[in-house]
Symmetry: C2
Subunit: 264 residues, 2 copies
């Protein structure tokens, strides 16, 4: 998969959402430079507290940027329609993926509450500005994501593994990458792990569980950040009756500024 538009980084969130609403289905890495992207997870009202508590107990992978009340389809940071304005969605029944579609208008229910969860794309501009390469943006592909062997702290009926995203970083820039991303604690913050993928239970770094593989060059280390796909992995493991998520890498482009999540 590649992004369809060379100028996508200069679009406003409003413009990007219109393209996705019209059916464009692409990963959003690099889109709408400076605007915050978010993971989506929507569950029935009955599960809302468990899911919000799961997020609260696992703030590194699940930083909640905003949440809706039952029936709402927009949010204070998303002036669009959560059912149509993301490039892609995953629909789950009892933890099974039953549809991957570019609109969930036909699946949405009035009792759903939606969570917008911070995304590491938020700090990628800052990495690039600091001279740290971001391989999947260079390649125009989706960021590689992996289920780990680390369990999240459960909450009620929700449990699941930590999911991580990976970026290969030259050894002499690892410290810079840590320093830059530490300043964005609300969008996953500093890496959770540097180096050996096996320590996270990742057997084959060349075969991500979500997204696309990227090349790790000589002199580079794989660096892992907590990932907002974690709530979807929890849905797969916990098997609630119904849930909707974004398609991994195809995020909600919000009206919040990346800079608003930067700590001084």
């Amino acid at each position: 998969m590649t992004t369809a538009d060379r100028n996508s980084s200069g679009l406003t969130p409003h413009e990007a959402r219109a393209r996705f609403r019209d059916g464009l289905k692409v990963p959003t890495a690099g889109w709408c430079s400076g605007w915050t992207q978010a993971n989506l997870i929507a569950v029935p009202r009955d599960l809302a507290y468990d899911m919000l508590l799961f997020a609260q107990r696992n703030p590194a992978p699940c930083p909640v940027l905003d949440a809706t009340e039952p029936g709402e389809t927009s949010s204070a940071i998303f002036d669009g329609d959560l059912r149509t304005d993301l490039p892609g969605y995953c629909v789950y029944e009892r933890g099974q993926l039953v549809a991957e579609v570019d609109s969930v208008r036909d699946y949405w229910r009035d009792d759903l509450v939606a969570f917008l969860v911070g995304c590491s794309f938020t700090f990628e501009d800052a990495l690039l500005e600091a001279g740290v390469p971001v391989r999947h943006i260079e390649a125009g592909t989706n960021v590689p994501m992996y289920r780990t062997s680390r369990p999240c702290r459960p909450a009620g009926r929700i449990s699941g593994p930590l999911v991580v995203s990976m970026r290969p970083i030259p050894a002499d820039l690892v410290a810079t990458a840590v320093r830059v991303t530490s300043r964005y604690p609300a969008v996953h913050g500093a890496p959770v792990h540097v180096g050996d993928p096996k320590a996270l239970g990742i057997r084959d770094i060349g075969r991500p569980d979500f997204g696309d593989p990227v090349q790790i060059r000589p002199g580079e280390l794989p660096v892992f950040w907590a990932c907002g796909v974690t709530p979807q992995a929890a849905v797969m493991q916990s098997r609630p009756p119904f849930a909707i998520g974004h398609a991994p890498g195809m995020m909600a482009v919000t009206d919040a500024r990346d800079s608003s999540y930067l700590v001084p």
Copy 2:
């Protein structure tokens, strides 16, 4: 009210909780130096999502440090009994205070979920270390707290005003107070207002809504921080069937370290 024990600052959380469990009813400012204190709000399961969403939408006054599942009476950061180990409690029915007691064992219900919300006492040691006086600790009284005219962002059935705590700060130390407290974003962080109380809708600074008044000396400005009593003010305004809170100023002394909420 004055603290009963000159050595209270050197106690462990375990020791302090034992005294409160035995019936000691005092404000906890200055107790258990270095250990984090927290506000308590407990509501029925049915209201849990609304309350957690209210907190999520109003992170300055309502930073959730931990939350329980229905029926739990301890938490990952509170290795005691939430029903007995605080010095004082307020019990509300339909928003009315119906009891102020030193144990809620007779009031607790199995469907309650409890939220531990960050408290500005957490950064008071850091203020003192930076040479900023903390008047209510000097005086051995409870911190003054005020309802403001600023509404919080509502969530479901929960709405209410921002509540603030106030500390008088010498004009030349206001910047230091801002800088020091900014480093504790998870426990209210930087002040929400410096100076004129009327801008917050506070009519008489000498008559706080909760806690005790303190002297503001010549050359000092009143400085206001978001306060974790805000969820209780929301309970009073929103009138849910039942709720339990801590008595203002009489906090849950947790097993978390103040330093764990310090950002680098």
